[in-house]
């Protein structure tokens, strides 16, 4: 049915059907975020020899995040008198919308995918860059010193790590010869790119953690020096949208890592292909998420000078060298 719909004339009917399907995906992602937050607290709890949430919703704390969201819904909303009101209200929307938009192109399996556009990878990178604007806007419009510092730091960090992120993916593009994410996955039929592009993968993974503003690169939100960074002045559901966009990005980035380097929905060995692609995707995706949680409970936060110098002096030259290494190897063999 969807196949036929995609070949029909684009019109209002198509818009409505896509809208309903997109809303279903949005609900799935909200469900993911709910349980990703719980998983994060539980995994960190076990790694630090404590229990984590275990009161609300049985011994596993299954309803803890739901309760937290309901609590946020009932919080009073304050906008400081000195804040720039229109920008202050607009900032969470601008930070959140791109995080959901990038998911449009990600192929979960060969059948389950929303927009199959030719420049999928470029679209992801371009749209994910927009969140920086929302973050800086939040920091500036709050008219608060901590918020402004956090916003500026976030901008500096995000643009510095965007370059290695974009360049490390070029190795994959070189090997595939396409920016379409479906073609990138099907090119990994025999060998996953994590084996062909080990340097690219490491640079990509480090840069993606920095783009997600997660520990060890969470300087924009450093609690003990900036309180919470750019969203100090936000409360209630406006604050929740910044957190939500962070976790939706985590979902998107883990999916992108799976698609680019871990073979997407393809099985580990070809004789295991009786297991459906969605299961494989979910397994690899969960592994990436788990590693992100693992990082959070093992690494200390790095210093601001180390952060910037590492990005420009180590990751950028390594990423550039990786591109040409790949290009030379490709033209030799």
């Amino acid at each position: 049915m969807i196949e036929g719909l995609l070949h029909d004339q684009a019109g209002l009917l198509n818009f409505v059907i896509f809208f309903v399907l997109g809303a279903v995906l949005l609900l799935v992602i909200l469900g993911f975020v709910t349980y990703a937050i719980l998983a994060e607290r539980k995994v960190m709890g076990f790694m630090q020899m404590r229990y984590g949430p275990n009161q609300v919703g049985g011994p596993w704390g299954l309803l803890q995040t739901v309760a937290d969201v309901l609590k946020l819904l009932l919080k009073e909303d304050t906008i400081p008198k000195l804040a720039d009101k229109p920008l202050f209200i607009l900032a969470p929307v601008i930070a959140f919308a791109p995080s959901f938009m990038v998911i449009a192109t990600i192929p979960f399996t060969d059948k389950l995918q929303f927009a199959d556009i030719g420049v999928g990878l470029l679209y992801y990178i371009a749209v994910s860059g927009l969140t920086t604007i929302g973050v800086v806007m939040a920091g500036w419009s709050s008219n608060n010193k901590f918020a402004l510092l956090g916003g500026m730091r976030a901008a500096a960090q995000m643009i510095s790590y965007e370059i290695p992120l974009v360049m490390s993916v070029l190795g994959v593009v070189l090997l595939t010869g396409s920016l379409n994410l479906n073609e990138i996955v099907s090119a990994q039929e025999n060998v996953w790119y994590i084996l062909l592009q080990p340097i690219g993968f490491i640079v990509f993974f480090i840069a993606s953690v920095a783009e997600l503003n997660r520990i060890p690169f969470d300087l924009p939100e450093a609690e003990n020096e900036l309180i919470a960074g750019y969203f100090v002045e936000y409360s209630g559901f406006r604050w929740a949208f910044f957190m939500l966009s962070e976790y939706v990005y985590m979902f998107a980035m883990a999916s992108l890592t799976t698609v680019l380097f871990l073979g997407g929905w393809l099985p580990l060995f070809s004789f295991l292909d009786f297991i459906p692609g969605a299961v494989w995707f979910a397994l690899k995706f969960s592994l990436v998420i788990f590693i992100l949680l693992w990082f959070r409970s093992t690494f200390p936060r790095i210093k601001a000078d180390q952060l910037m110098e590492f990005g420009w002096k180590v990751l950028l030259p390594v990423a550039l060298a990786n591109i040409f290494l790949t290009a030379i190897i490709k033209s030799l063999f």
């Binding site: 995609l6 070949h7 029909d8 684009a10 198509n14 818009f15 896509f18 809208f19 997109g22 809303a23 819904l73 919080k75 009073e76 909303d77 906008i79 400081p80 008198k81 000195l82 969470p92 959140f96 919308a97 995080s99 959901f100 938009m101 929303f114 927009a115 556009i117 679209y123 500036w140 709050s142 008219n143 608060n144 010193k145 901590f146 402004l148 500026m152 901008a155 500096a156 643009i159 370059i163 070029l170 593009v173 070189l174 010869g177 309180i227 100090v232 559901f237 406006r238 949208f241 000078d305 420009w312 002096k313 950028l316 030259p317 550039l320 591109i323 040409f324 290009a327 030379i328 033209s331």
Partner: protein, 124 residues
């Protein structure tokens, strides 16, 4: 025509996602507005500064370094704009394009090394 429809539909999905991404915050904030209490008081609307009364202007002057890093970002981002089409078409372009691209990137690398030596990349 068939392909054109496919193309249009795929971008229609992108528009749908944009709409959903904007509608969710609007609807959620509207719901929150109906549910949340509203007890305004003067103290709640002051700017937060660890319990002190806020002093001076919050929009403080910034280290010029932020600006220099933004400039560096623009240079290397434009470089990636050239690198992407090159990488996609690399199979057809062959060894000559590789050498050309090496020269291009080498010149930018000279700039990076110069910035490095001038201690621009040092964050204080």
């Amino acid at each position: 025509m068939e392909l054109f429809n496919l193309y249009q539909n795929n971008y229609l999905i992108v528009v749908v996602f944009l709409c959903l991404g904007v509608i969710l915050p609007v609807v959620a904030l509207f719901l929150a507005k109906l549910l949340r209490p509203n007890v305004p008081s003067e103290a709640k609307y002051t700017t937060y500064e660890s319990g002190n009364d806020p002093f001076n202007d919050s929009l403080v002057q910034f280290n010029v370094r932020y600006y220099i890093f933004a400039l560096l970002f623009v240079i290397f981002d434009v470089e990636t704009v050239f690198l992407y089409p090159w990488a996609v078409a690399y199979e057809k372009l062959g060894i000559f394009a590789l050498i050309e691209m090496l020269i291009f990137v080498f010149m930018l690398l000279i700039g990076l090394v110069y910035a490095w030596k001038k201690k621009v990349l040092k964050w204080i």
